[in-house]
Amino acid sequence: MNRINKLFQNKHERILSVYFTAGYPKLDDTVPVIQELVKNGVDLIEIGMPFSDPVADGPVIQGSSLVALQNGMSVHKLFDQLKDIRQSVDIPLILMGYINPVIQFGVDAFCQKCREVGIDGLIIPDLPLAVYEEEYKAIFEVNNLHNIFLITPQTSDDRLRRIDEASSGFIYMVSSNSTTGAKEGVTDFQNVYFERISKFGLKNPRLIGFGISSAETFRNACNYAHGAIIGSAFVKALGTDLPLNEKVSQFVKTIATEV
């Protein structure tokens, strides 16, 4: 069974998913960051594949992507780094990135590599639903990879149903109309949207992401979904000068004391 499904089967609330950019802050930090996150009890990890033109990302992830690329990060390098990851890590791992590097690697080859190293799902914001269904779905499924779709406050009911139908792992609820990390705090508008979605009767579990940066925003998101995703706030913490293990443990503690 795919590790994502297993996670949602065993845990129904306060699921903490953390995003970071591979190859940041140092090229070889990818695996240590994953291991430290696991040690501190996170439930799921999204490994960002840096891209030169991340249009859906705010300044923090733009910055980490640039540094990672300057460090020499690439898709090939990432698969190299993750080669033995399943010897030490059993939580679900997802790769997140833009479509062009995947196309250049070769979609088939990319998905096979994901399977080989033990990746459970993919989040590719600029891979549209229709193109996924026509050209990618079969390849993803053969390699036991879940494609994770985003929804936003603007997503229509009709499209929500279609996305729910096409999803198999969980649905990524973008918390507001924004690029990653852009908005601080929680607004009433957001809670109305969270409420609408939680009552919509989706068959897939949901995680809320974008702008989740503190214990308070995490707790609020968990009131409406199975858990939440933290990206920019963690990447910001990775950019500080502490030793890696301290950066990670301090950060996870501030978010979710009782994970």
């Binding site: 891209f51 030169s52 033109d53 991340p54 249009v55 859906a56 990302d57 705010g58 733009q62 640039l66 690329l69 690439s74 898709v75 090939h76 833009y98 479509i99 062009n100 590097p101 995947v102 196309i103 250049q104 690697f105 914001p125 600029d126 891979l127 549209p128 229709a130 193109v131 779709f149 985003l150 929804i151 936003t152 603007q154 997503t155 229509s156 499209r159 973008v174 109309n177 924004s178 690029t179 852009a182």
Partner: protein, 393 residues
């Protein structure tokens, strides 16, 4: 051969709409409504009237006598440089702002390289009383300073994009991020035949007025609608798309696009996307790109701020792939020579971008009976500093 976009938004294998979910509602709305809007009687009336009475169309088709003598052939210049705001960009911004109004949008965003599209957008926003925000790479803000000042005087806010190479690609990234963050009241006026479907088709339709006029102007002046050849520069490819549009099915008309080779196609400082690029996805459409093996976009370079874009509109990728159009290139040095040549033979100072189209004249075979039309996409006012620096006047 079919050179029009298909129902799914592709030209052959190129195009599409590789957009994040956050952009879906706006792009779907536009896709569902643009044809109905631009084919409506009201829209057509207003569009044609503004092109004529505001932008100054039709733009002249001018027989360049001394240039023709020099190249021993017949060369006509399509004078988009004489449009209001100094380039072909106004054709598109008038069209798109009318679409934006029909969609009830009140805030306009745009990206710009040379500043010509930003200027044309700021202009129509002033005309319509809409708020205007223009993203421009920090490097371009420097090298196209006169246009920045004009945009500000027109009431636009010019935001300097400091990511990446700080040129056109980065300005486009910032504009897309703005639209993601402001999906309700905002319309993105894209400046070329790039971006997600339906933009490439919509922009090509607005620019197609260039070749529509060429047909009757040629008929009037030489008794036939078709020239033997049309030459236009390509950045994203909108002036070329407009100059080619009504001739796409006339296979006897040779179509030539000219890319910016910068310091040369064997250097890393170049923007010759079709010559050097490979297929991939940038700014939501599949086309040729300058990229690494890892799929990272390579920062382009050209002396002209309007051509240093690492992609190209999907229509051009398709025209190249099918062999319908040829794509040549010109280096910075060739372009400067060509600009000076036109200036001193015809008394017309072209934009650096447009000078790329002129710069291939010495490289192609022209015969005395043939008719060649060169699209002069813009005027050189914005480039005076660069020209003066190189020519030392």
């Amino acid at each position: 051969m079919d050179y029009q976009v298909n129902k799914k938004g592709y030209y052959g294998e190129f195009g599409g709409a590789y957009i994040p979910e956050m952009m879906v509602p706006n792009i779907e709305e536009l896709e569902n409504r643009y044809m109905e809007i631009i084919q409506s009687y009201d829209f057509k009336q207003e569009f044609v009237s503004l092109l004529k009475n505001y932008a100054g169309r039709p733009s002249p088709l001018y027989f360049a006598k001394r240039l023709s003598e020099k190249y021993q052939s017949n060369i006509f210049l399509k004078r988009e440089d004489l449009n209001h705001t100094g380039s072909h960009k106004i054709n598109n911004t008038i069209g798109q702002i009318l679409v934006a109004k029909k969609l009830g949008k009140t805030r306009i965003i745009a990206e710009t390289g040379a500043g010509q599209h930003g200027l044309a957008t700021a202009t129509v926003c002033a005309l319509m009383g809409l708020k205007c925000i223009v993203y421009m790479g920090a490097v371009d803000v420097e090298r196209q300073a006169p246009n920045v000042k004009k945009m500000r005087m027109l009431g636009a806010e010019v935001i300097s994009a400091v990511s990446g190479n700080q040129t056109l690609k980065d300005a486009t990234n910032e504009a897309m991020r703005d639209w993601i963050n402001n999906p309700i009241d905002t319309f993105y006026i894209i400046g070329s035949v790039v971006g997600p479907h339906p933009y490439p088709d919509m922009v090509a339709r607005f620019q197609s007025v260039i070749s529509e006029e060429m047909r009757w102007q040629l008929d009037e002046q030489v008794g036939r609608e078709n020239p033997d050849r049309i030459i236009a520069c390509v950045g994203g490819g909108s002036n070329a798309a407009g100059a080619f549009y009504h001739y796409l099915d006339q296979e006897g008309v040779e179509l030539i696009g000219v890319e910016a080779a910068g310091k040369g196609i064997d250097t890393s400082e170049t923007a010759a996307t079709i010559t050097l690029g490979t297929p991939g996805v940038l700014h939501s459409s599949r086309s040729f790109l300058m990229q690494t093996d890892d799929g990272q976009i390579i920062e382009p370079y050209s002396i002209s701020a309007g051509l240093d874009y690492p992609g190209i509109g999907p229509l051009h990728a398709h025209l190249f792939k099918t062999g319908r159009a040829k794509y040549l290139w010109a280096t910075d040095a060739e372009v400067l020579d060509a600009a000076l040549e036109l200036t001193q033979l015809e008394g017309i100072i072209p934009a650096l971008e447009s000078a790329h189209a002129l710069a291939v004249l010495p490289k192609i075979k022209l015969s005395p009976e043939e008719i060649t039309v060169i699209n002069i996409s813009g005027r050189g006012d914005k480039d005076m500093e660069t020209y003066l620096k190189h020519f030392g006047y």
